[in-house]
Structures are given as structure tokens and as C-alpha cells.
């Protein structure tokens, strides 16, 4: 019986690590071959940092990288403000107003990106708008704003409804009470909304492809244009390695941070009992 349990454990672990290995294999191959200067994947020309040097010399790729960050940060900030205000406003509205807004909010969440991109392309065609940073921004806001709303809303629901009233009774102006009382309570929701909106925007291809001005390239559109006909350019291996490292550090940091918080919360529970 004990041996059977041990066998099951080994089987389970093997399965986890096998899937993990397969899942990361393509990206790990890029990482390994980013440290050699061969043009072709699978040919090892000896260790070298040449591709990293090439990466920083590749102006169009660097521009694309800058553009990706720019649109992600700008749309992230605007979307966070818009979505947070929306969530607060809707939360304090009558039910007959709240219901339709909730439905509208679900639309961009469930909708296919290609349908959203097309619908906006038609709108801009009808309005005779030239594609610019602004049209791209609108696209990214449509992509992200509902997620900010959906992350702030539960925090508002968890909040003690009387602290705002208490602040008003104690002489705070509505605006002061909102900033000093409500905002701190919902800050974690705002922050996670911002993060989600950043990640959605950084990764986006479809909406960007449809709504950007032709000369504006992000990492996704730039690389897609090349890989449609050729293998991944060598310097993109270096870029992928850097991006992979950043994401890895970030994800590990969040996990450790959340774990600590989870443990703290558990301890608090126990204390209260």
C-alpha cells in the first residue's frame, strides 16, 4: 500500500514536470540559442552576446518595443481612471441604471477580439477618421476598461457602506471623502485592474493591427509581419529571453507577495477564533 502511494506520487510529479517541460520547450530553445550568433535555430556557433548587441542596434525593433510600452502605459492609466470612476458611479446608482451598464460591461469581456476590432474599424470608417494613436488608444481602452471595472466592483461591495456617510457626518466634503475614505479601500482592486489592463495591452495583436496607423508598429505587429514569411529573426531570440526573464521575476514576486498575504490572513483568522 505504501509502495503504491509512493508510485502514485512519482507518477504525479513526473506528469507535472513533463507537461511543464513541453510547455516551455519552444521558449527555452529561443533562450538557449539567444547566446550564440547563428542565424538559424539549432546551429550552435559558440557562446556569444552578439544577438543582444544586435537587438539594441535594431532601431525598428527598439521603436516597436517603445511603442508597445507607450500604448500599454497610456491605455492602462486612462482605462484605470475611466473604469474606476465608472465602477464607483455605477455602484451608487439606482438598480434600473446599474443593470444595463453591467450588461454593457460584459460585452467586451465575452466578445471576440476580431469582432471588436471590426466593429471599431467600421465606426471609424463611417466617421471618416484617420488611423492614429488616438484610434489605437480607443481600441485598447475597449479591450481593457471592463476588466478594471470588474476588479474594482467587488472591492466596493466588500467595503463598509457607512464609512463614507461617517466621513460626511464628520464634516468631510463628498470629494474629500471619496479620495480619503473610499479610494484607499478599493485601491487593491484598482491596482489589479491596472495590471490586468497592462498585460492585455502588451500582448495584444488583433485590435492593434486593425486600429493603428500603418507606420506605427508594436512588438506583436512587427514580429508578426516578419514571421508570416520567415523564421524568427535572430535578435528577437534575445528580446524573447529578456521578456521571459522580466515576466518570470514579476510572476515570482507576485506569488511570494500574495503567499505572504495569504499566510498573514490565515493567521489573523486563527487569532480571532
Amino acid at each position: 500500500m505504501v509502495r503504491w502511494e509512493r508510485f502514485k506520487k512519482i507518477l504525479a510529479k513526473t506528469y507535472i514536470y513533463l507537461v511543464l517541460l513541453l510547455m516551455y520547450a519552444p521558449i527555452l530553445v529561443l533562450v538557449v540559442y539567444s547566446f550564440t550568433d547563428s542565424d538559424q535555430l539549432g546551429i550552435w556557433n559558440g557562446f556569444s552576446f552578439k544577438l543582444y548587441v544586435d537587438l539594441f542596434k535594431n532601431e525598428s525593433l527598439m521603436d516597436a518595443f517603445g511603442n508597445t510600452l507607450l500604448i500599454a502605459v497610456v491605455s492602462g492609466i486612462v482605462s484605470t481612471i475611466l473604469g474606476t470612476l465608472g465602477a464607483i458611479g455605477v455602484f451608487y446608482s439606482e438598480k434600473r441604471f446599474r443593470q444595463p451598464v453591467e450588461t454593457m460591461t460584459q460585452l467586451p469581456v465575452v466578445n471576440a477580439e476580431i469582432v471588436m476590432a471590426l466593429s471599431l474599424a467600421i465606426l471609424f470608417k463611417v466617421l471618416n477618421t484617420r488611423y492614429s494613436f488616438l484610434t489605437l488608444l480607443v481600441g485598447h481602452l475597449v479591450l481593457t476598461v471592463a476588466f478594471v471595472y470588474l476588479n474594482v466592483k467587488p472591492k466596493l461591495m466588500q467595503m463598509d457602506p457607512f464609512i463614507y456617510e461617517a466621513a460626511l457626518d464628520l464634516g468631510a466634503s463628498p470629494r474629500y471623502a471619496l479620495f480619503k475614505v473610499v479610494l484607499p479601500e478599493i485601491l487593491p482592486g484598482i491596482f489589479s485592474g491596472f495590471l490586468i489592463s497592462l498585460t492585455l495591452s502588451l500582448d495584444d495583436f488583433v485590435i492593434t493591427q486593425y486600429l493603428k496607423e500603418p507606420s506605427f508598429e508594436t512588438v506583436s505587429t512587427y514580429i508578426q509581419k516578419i514571421v508570416a514569411k520567415h523564421p524568427i529573426p535572430p535578435e528577437v531570440r534575445a528580446l524573447s529571453t529578456i521578456l521571459f526573464a522580466i515576466v518570470l521575476v514579476f510572476v515570482l514576486a507576485i506569488t511570494f507577495y500574495n503567499n505572504n498575504k495569504a499566510i498573514k490572513l490565515l493567521k489573523a483568522r486563527r487569532g480571532r477564533r
Binding site: 535555430l41 471590426l118 489589479s192
Partner: protein, 262 residues
């Protein structure tokens, strides 16, 4: 005007009306008009009278079903092991399975293609296989997450009860564990099924344009500036999405949507 908290939602609501609702209404309008702008059902007739169009839709369904099935087949035992404290106590490991979501999917997809080509599975000669591999690679993380969270909430004493009462592990799995995790299975399936149908970059890259999914097909007509016919197909997509949302809602009552994993 006196300040009221509900006024804060005005910009948000206006934004949604202008850039989400009205554009969708435009799709409906374009779908049922012809190039001259007159009301017509030409697009509907054109879509269903040409076998190619219907075939693309059916083939996309086939790919979506296969992809969902494989993702669940790999992801379900994975989530089971990850959620079982006997085998795994590390949340970092769980995060590693979800992390690919944050790595640029164009890079990931083209890396998959280049590696497949390198080890001899050519994307030109085995387009169907490589497309499915690419789809599974992209959607597996989305399956693991909802399955894992439902399995954490699962009542383990029911499994023990089932075994104590004489059910064999096989029966316990199908009669106890699967029904208990049904909400997770449904939400995992919807995370994969509809996006596969509407995806196009993945199949384009991994099949050298040999496999055309419904998403690429819509894209094709819009690139040819055939707005009316493209809109009609987008409308079909919208209706399918509406249907899938309806089905999901019926199955899982505690699904609150959103990708909140923080």
C-alpha cells in the same frame, strides 16, 4: 449642479455606448445591407449558398472541439495533481503553468513553429497537426486556472465517502469528482472553445495559411474591403458567442467572469 457620486460613471457609460454598443449595432446594420446601402438579406443567402463558407465554419468547429478536448485531457489531471496537497504544496509551480499567458503570444507561437520545423514536423506538410499543437500550447494555461480553482474548493470528504462506501476509484472519479468539478470544466471549455473559433494568427503562423479558421476568414473579407459580407460573418460570430455565454451561465451559477487571479 450638485455633486453626486453616480455622476462619476458618466464618462465610462458614454465610452461604452460610443465604442462598444454603437459599433456592434453598425455590424448588425452592415450585415443586413448591400454595398449600395439598401436593406437586404443578400449576405445571408451568399453565406449559406456557398459550401466553402459553411465548410470553414464547420472546420473551425472541429478544430475548436479537438483543441478543447485535448486541453481538458491534459489540463484536468494536471489541475488535480496541482490542487492535491499530497503531491504539490507550491503555489509557484501553479503560477508557472499560468505564466505563459503573460509572454507575448506572437513570440510564443512563432517559437513553437520554428522548433517544430527544426525537429522535423514541417508546418507546410503537417499543417493540421502543427495547428493543433499550436492551439493547445496557447490555450492550455487558460484551462489549468479555472480547473485548479474549482478543485481547491472541492469537498474532499465526499471522495473519501465514495471510496468508503465501496465505489472503486474509477467510479469515484466519474460519479463524484467529475460532477463536483463540472463548473470548472464548463468555464475552462468556454475559455478555449470560442477563442479558438475566432482566432486567426495562430493558425496562420502554424499552418502557413493552409488551415483557415473562422477568424481568419472574417479577416480575409475585411482586408478585401467587403465590409457587408465581413460584417455578416462577424454577426454569426457574435451570435455564437451569445449562445456560448448563455450555455455557460446555465451550467455554472457561481461564475463571476473576469480574469481576476490576483
Amino acid at each position: 449642479m450638485k455633486f453626486r457620486r453616480k455622476y462619476l460613471s458618466i464618462p465610462y457609460v458614454l465610452f461604452l455606448v460610443c465604442f462598444v454598443v454603437i459599433p456592434v449595432l453598425f455590424i448588425v446594420y452592415y450585415a443586413f445591407t448591400n454595398k449600395g446601402g439598401q436593406l437586404s438579406i443578400d449576405n445571408l443567402i451568399r453565406f449559406f449558398s456557398d459550401k466553402t463558407n459553411v465548410d470553414v465554419l464547420l472546420i473551425s468547429f472541429a478544430y475548436a472541439i479537438i483543441n478543447t478536448f485535448i486541453c481538458l485531457l491534459i489540463g484536468y489531471p494536471l489541475a488535480m495533481v496541482l490542487a492535491n496537497r499530497k503531491y504539490n504544496k507550491s503555489s509557484v509551480l501553479v503560477m508557472l503553468f499560468i505564466m505563459p499567458m503573460w509572454i507575448n503570444f506572437i513570440i510564443r507561437t512563432s517559437a513553437t513553429r520554428d522548433v517544430l520545423n527544426w525537429i522535423g514536423i514541417s508546418t507546410g506538410a503537417h499543417s493540421e497537426l502543427t495547428t493543433i499543437i499550436g492551439l493547445v500550447y496557447n490555450y492550455l494555461p487558460f484551462v489549468v486556472l479555472p480547473l485548479y480553482t474549482t478543485m481547491l474548493k472541492m469537498d474532499r470528504s465526499q471522495i473519501e465517502a465514495s471510496l468508503d462506501l465501496g465505489a472503486n476509484p474509477f467510479h469515484t472519479f466519474f460519479k463524484t469528482i467529475i460532477p463536483m468539478t463540472m463548473p470548472g470544466i464548463v468555464s475552462a471549455a468556454t475559455m478555449v472553445f470560442m477563442p479558438t473559433l475566432s482566432s486567426y494568427v495562430i493558425s496562420d503562423i502554424l499552418s502557413e495559411y493552409n488551415v483557415v479558421l473562422f477568424g481568419s476568414y472574417i479577416d480575409l473579407y475585411f482586408n478585401q474591403a467587403d465590409w457587408n459580407f465581413g460584417s455578416f460573418m462577424a454577426l454569426i460570430m457574435l451570435l455564437l458567442i451569445g449562445l456560448s455565454v448563455f450555455i455557460t451561465r446555465k451550467f455554472s451559477k457561481d461564475d463571476r467572469g473576469g480574469r481576476s487571479i490576483w
